[in-house]
Structures are given as structure tokens and as C-alpha cells.
């Protein structure tokens, strides 16, 4: 059974999320999207595939203190599967003030949802004009950027080149790995935003850890990214226990992590991703012959100690 790709669309109030959604729903792209929204009235387009919901977040009784999931999504996805064949992908819009974690966690913890769908990407719409003010006064605006795989930096026509550069810089500080598309009135190419594939994990490989401006303390940034890499192969017997311990101790602060890891004698890439305390890892496609077997891992979160992370990651290097 093929799994249906799911895009999570977030963005602070007024950033342009509804504009983007309307664009997706009206443009002729040959794809049929089932859309799960919170405020049906805002969309203004009648479509059999729009589902109205109330965000119902609850805590899992699985001993994981920050593991909250969206019960309404579990029900809706199960119901939508009755209409299998009527749509190609699912888009979930969250409210402007929502923390994206429960949505993403739903796709990690519910077995039946996992069997039927796969999280494709978290897309965050950011208002270039108001982003700096929002980052100062809103916890949620910052988290929405932190969780993103794709950022639509919107309203670029309303800012100066200098302001835009600042906005870009701040986004990069919070989230070093998201793809940024700069737009006016959310006029992004649909295929830049939707169905990017597998949480856009290959993007992790493209990051140059040394280029990250971790010393830029101009703004008192709460959430940051730490990207680590190793040319030497990693020992799975050290790596997995390290990650498990790290996420069980610092899971509250680690919003997301993604890694592509080379293990000795393993022709395939080991891909790992996590949200707070939830981890999921698997060997996926082969390393390409022309590709350096460089292991990389990116953490996005609060209170990340780069030196400590680097040292403990390096302790996982396989010894010959």
C-alpha cells in the first residue's frame, strides 16, 4: 500500500498562510489535495476535500512527558482513507498560534497513521515585514520556524533589501537547514513547497556546518541550530545509545533533529529523525558512488551546547 504524503502548513497570524492555501486549491497543478483546516470560513472555496476540524491536543500515556498528539488528525486521516483514490496528498493547516510539535508527533506515534501516510514536509509561511517583532514577542513564531523544512518568506515587497537580509539571517540562526523561498503574495511554485519528499532529508547533506553563524549574538536568539559532521564512519553501537540518552534527557529542548549517517560496511545511508523525545531511524537508499560518506546531524532547539554535542558525537566515531 503506498503511503499518502502529508504537508503541514504553519505560519503566524497574518503571514499569508491562507493566501498560500487558496493558491494551492485553485491553481491547475493536476494534483488533488485533501485539506484539513481549522477555520473553514477563511478559505472561501467550497471543495469536497476540505475538512474542518478543532485542534484537539492530548498527552500520550507512554511515559514521554512532552509527547502530545492531535487526536482529531488521527480520526480524520482514518476517515479520509475511506475516500482512497479520490485525492493524492493531504495538507494540514495549523492555527497561527499553534505549536507544530503535536502535529508532527502524531505522525511518529500512531501506528495506523504511519502505515497510511508519510510526513512530507513542514512548510512555514513567514512575514518578512513583521518577523523580527514576532520573534521578540512570540514563542510560537519562533517554534514554527524551528520546525520547518520549507520556509516561504513572504511579503518581500514590503521590506528593504537590508531588512530582508536581516530576516534571512534570523531564520538561518534558528533553522539552518530549511529551504527558503522568497515570495510576494505567497506566489511560490507549488512544487517547491509541496511533496518535497521524505521530510527533505537530503537537505541535511548540503549544509556546510562551518558556514553557520553560531557566533552571531546580535539578537538574543532562543532557538538555534547545531550542525555536526564527520568524515569518519560512525559506530552504530555508540551512536544509537548516545542519541537515545540525549533525547531522553534533553528532549524537551530538542525540537527537531535529522541525520544521515555512514556506518562501517553499510552501503546504505542510515537516516534518523526526531521530534522532542521521539526518534525514528532506518537504513534507506545507497550512498551514491560519487558521494563522500560524510555523516551529518542537525539539531534544532533551545539551550543547545555546541561543544558538548560535538564532543559526544565525535565519541561515536568508529575506531578501526
Amino acid at each position: 500500500m503506498s503511503r499518502i504524503p502529508v504537508t503541514v502548513l504553519t505560519g503566524y497570524l497574518g503571514a499569508g498562510k491562507t493566501t498560500l492555501l487558496n493558491r494551492i486549491l485553485t491553481e491547475d497543478h493536476g494534483r488533488r489535495y485533501a485539506v484539513i483546516v481549522n477555520e473553514f470560513g477563511e478559505i472561501g472555496i467550497d471543495n469536497d476535500l476540505i475538512v474542518d476540524t478543532d485542534e484537539e491536543v492530548f498527552e500520550m500515556n507512554n511515559g514521554c512527558i512532552c509527547c502530545t498528539v492531535r487526536g482529531d488528525l488521527i480520526r480524520i486521516i482514518e476517515g479520509l482513507m475511506r475516500r482512497k483514490g479520490k485525492f493524492d496528498a493531504i495538507i494540514i493547516e495549523t492555527t497561527g498560534l499553534a505549536d507544530p510539535a503535536p502535529v508532527i508527533q502524531t505522525f511518529f506515534v500512531d501506528e495506523e497513521v504511519r502505515a497510511r501516510t508519510m510526513l512530507d514536509a513542514v512548510v512555514t509561511v513567514v512575514d518578512a515585514k513583521n518577523i523580527l517583532a514576532r520573534l521578540d514577542d512570540s514563542h510560537e513564531a519562533e517554534e514554527q520556524i524551528a520546525f520547518a523544512d520549507v520556509i516561504v518568506l513572504n511579503k518581500t515587497d514590503l521590506v528593504t533589501a537590508d531588512e530582508l537580509e536581516k530576516a534571512r539571517g534570523h531564520i538561518r540562526l534558528i533553522n539552518a537547514q530549511a529551504r527558503i523561498h522568497e515570495t510576494q503574495r505567497c506566489a511560490a511554485r507549488i512544487d517547491d513547497v509541496l511533496e518535497r519528499g521524505a521530510f527533505d532529508l537530503d537537505r541535511v547533506l548540503e549544509i556546510e556546518p562551518n558556514l553557520l553563524g553560531e557566533d552571531d549574538h546580535e539578537h538574543d536568539q532562543n532557538i538555534t541550530s547545531v550542525s555536526l559532521s564527520s568524515e569518519r564512519e560512525i559506530d552504530p553501537k555508540r551512536f544509537m545509545p548516545w542519541l537515545r540518552e540525549l533525547t531522553s534527557k534533553q528532549g524537551k529542548d530538542i525540537l527537531r533533529l535529522k541525520g544521515i549517517i555512514a556506518f562501517p560496511d553499510e552501503p546504505k545511508r542510515f537516516v534518523v529523525q526526531g521530534v522532542h523525545m521521539l526518534l525514528e531511524g532506518d537504513v534507506q537508499k545507497d550512498w551514491r558512488p560519487d558521494q563522500a560518506r560524510t555523516s551529518r546531524i542537525v539539531f534544532i532547539g533551545r539551550n543547545l551546547d555546541r561543544t558538548a554535542l560535538q564532543q559526544s558525537f565525535e565519541a561515536c566515531i568508529a575506531r578501526p
Binding site: M60, E111, E112
Partner: protein, 338 residues
């Protein structure tokens, strides 16, 4: 050599265009609610497919009159379809999904779970008589044998009330977490819910003594009480897990019967024969089997195909109907002599 599945010598199969959501016996006729929004009526001498909902049917049950089926859709409608194919509206709830439907021929009640409300019809009413609101979305509904008491599961527990009484008091059964399907024992002495994390939680009434039944690899979606409520069969494991409810403490500190598994596929549907101690099982691999409670002997009714989604005995226990995700419907007729 494997024996041919029993349905081939003692029954028949029908292929529908969409997955089967629910089945209801209306006397000798079978009504099949389909995921595409239609109902197939299959009676002696008459077979027809009626378009009922614009989109998917999410829930269905027999109407208390015994000769029509009630369906709930993701178009927000609750409709009634009579055996002759006549469709009438029982309610419209705009964009809300009608997630569950149950009824009782004994009390005449029909109850629908619509978002956070349990909506009630009574005595064949064409419109709801009243509804009960909850603070979170309803996970499941269950009525006792007389159809007088209703159990409603929701976040952080379940509630028991008298559905036909508009001003009914409520008994709160508290337990943190998301409670999905639920079942009340025929004598209303127990309420059991299925948990999001898998496993079951229960309360013995009126003392509200809590019980917990764990070890299920998948969520339990199907429950079935044996004749007089002596056993409760449950889905969600590779075997049917059958809990004893005899004695004054029910399943507490007792071992369940573990019956009828087929290698590693999960059991999706369970249905006790209305009078005997036989249990019909629908499997995730599409097989259907019948097991005898006292020795666990099993018979193959149908071979693997797509996952079984509905399983219902006729009231007299002579026929068993089942349906799967792909639209296969089978009817086993025990009165046929091979």
C-alpha cells in the same frame, strides 16, 4: 491439501464497488454501507444499490424498526434507507462528521456521535429528540442490552447516562488519555474502552473499580459479548483475546482465552454467535474464521483477500455476513446442507 473455504459450499460472495464500512441484517436481507457513500440492499429476490451520501459513509447501524439502515456520512448527514430503497433524512450537521452510530431495537433509541455531541432519536422519530454535549470529541458509543443506558468514551474517560432522558444525570468515569471505541456490558455492570496507546481500560459499576487490560499490539476496534455477557471478545491482537465476565470480579486477576490466530496478522473484527459459544473472526489478511470457545477448534470461512472491516450475524444466528476494505462481501448460510 487445504479444504476450500466454507463460504464456497455454504454461502456466496458479492463484489461491491467500494470498501465495506458496516453491515446490518434487516430480517433476511443484508444492508451493506459502502465507503463511497452508497448502500447495497441484498434481499431474497431483490438487489439494489442506492446512492445515499455525497461522500464517504463513516458509520451505520440497523434502525430499531428492523427493516431499514441508518447511515452517517462525512457530508454531515444522518440518513435512513428502507429495504425498498427509499432514503429519508434524519439529521444534518453541516460540516461535522458522523463518526459512530448505534441503536437498540429494545428501547427504540438511535444515537449518533457527531463531533462533541451524542445526538439521540427515539421511537422512529424523523428528527433528533435531544443531544448531549461533551468537552471533547466522542471516541465511541455503546448501549446496554435494554438500550436504556449509554456509554460514551472521550478524552480522559467515559460517561454513562440515560440517552432517552433529556435531563439525564451523568456518571463520570475518569482516566487520563484518549479513549476510542467503547463497550458496555449487556447488564450495564461494566464499561470498557479502547485506548489510543492500545490496550483496554474498564470500570466496574457502580463502584467505578478500575481495570486495565494490556498487551495489545494494535488498537482494539471491535468488541463482542457472548450470549448473556459471559465473555467479551476483543480485536487488536494476532489472536482473539476473550475475557471472562463470570463471577463477581469479572476479568480481574483472570487470564483471557487466546483463540484463533493466523500467524502474524492482526484480528480486526470479532462477533459472537447470538446464542452459541462460537466466535467469528475477521483477520487483517482478509481471512474469516469461526472458532469454538471450549476447545479452540477453528474453521476457515473465507480465504485471505483485503482486511476485514465488518462482521455481523443475523439475529437467528443462521447467517454470518462479512465485508472487507476492497468491497468483497461474503454471506455464510449455516442452514445450507452440503
Amino acid at each position: 491439501m487445504m479444504d476450500a473455504p466454507l463460504v464456497e459450499s455454504h454461502g456466496r460472495r458479492v463484489t461491491c464497488d467500494d470498501g465495506v464500512v458496516e453491515l446490518a441484517w434487516l430480517g433476511d436481507s443484508l444492508a451493506v454501507a459502502l465507503a463511497g457513500g452508497a448502500v447495497r440492499l441484498d434481499g431474497p429476490g431483490s438487489k439494489k444499490v442506492v446512492a445515499v451520501h455525497r461522500r464517504a459513509i463513516l458509520s451505520a447501524c440497523a434502525h430499531p424498526d428492523g427493516c431499514s439502515i441508518v447511515t452517517g456520512g462525512d457530508d454531515g448527514f444522518v440518513r435512513r434507507v428502507a429495504l425498498d430503497g427509499d432514503v429519508s433524512d434524519l439529521g444534518c450537521f453541516d460540516r461535522k462528521w458522523v463518526h459512530a452510530l448505534i441503536s437498540s431495537a429494545e428501547s427504540g433509541a438511535v444515537v449518533a456521535a457527531v463531533g462533541r455531541e451524542a445526538v439521540v432519536w427515539s421511537g422512529g422519530s424523523a428528527k433528533p429528540i435531544h443531544s448531549f454535549a461533551f468537552s471533547s470529541t466522542i471516541g465511541g458509543l455503546s448501549l446496554d442490552a435494554k438500550g436504556k443506558r449509554l456509554a460514551v468514551s472521550h478524552y480522559n474517560g467515559a460517561t454513562v447516562l440515560y440517552p432517552l432522558v433529556a435531563a439525564s444525570g451523568r456518571v463520570r468515569l475518569d482516566r487520563a488519555g484518549s479513549h476510542l471505541a467503547c463497550v458496555m456490558s449487556p447488564d450495564s455492570g461494566y464499561v470498557i474502552t479502547a485506548l489510543q496507546e492500545t490496550g483496554l481500560h474498564g470500570w466496574k459499576l457502580p463502584a467505578k473499580t478500575q481495570l486495565s487490560m494490556n498487551g495489545y499490539p494494535a488498537k482494539t476496534r471491535s468488541f463482542s459479548w457472548s450470549h448473556r455477557g459471559r465473555w467479551l471478545a476483543t480485536s487488536g491482537s494476532v489472536n482473539a483475546i476473550v475475557w471472562p465476565f463470570t463471577g463477581k470480579n469479572g476479568p480481574m486477576e483472570k487470564e483471557p482465552l487466546v483463540l484463533g490466530g493466523r500467524s502474524d496478522t492482526i484480528i480486526t473484527q470479532v462477533a459472537f454467535h447470538p446464542t452459541g459459544e462460537h466466535l467469528a473472526l475477521g483477520h487483517g489478511d482478509g481471512a474469516v474464521s469461526l472458532v469454538r470457545l471450549d476447545d479452540g477448534a477453528a474453521l476457515l470461512i473465507d480465504a485471505p483477500d483485503q482486511s476485514i472491516t465488518a462482521l455481523r450475524w443475523s439475529k437467528d444466528g443462521k447467517k454470518l455476513a462479512y465485508g472487507d476494505e476492497g468491497g468483497r462481501v461474503g454471506i455464510l448460510d449455516m442452514s445450507i446442507r452440503a
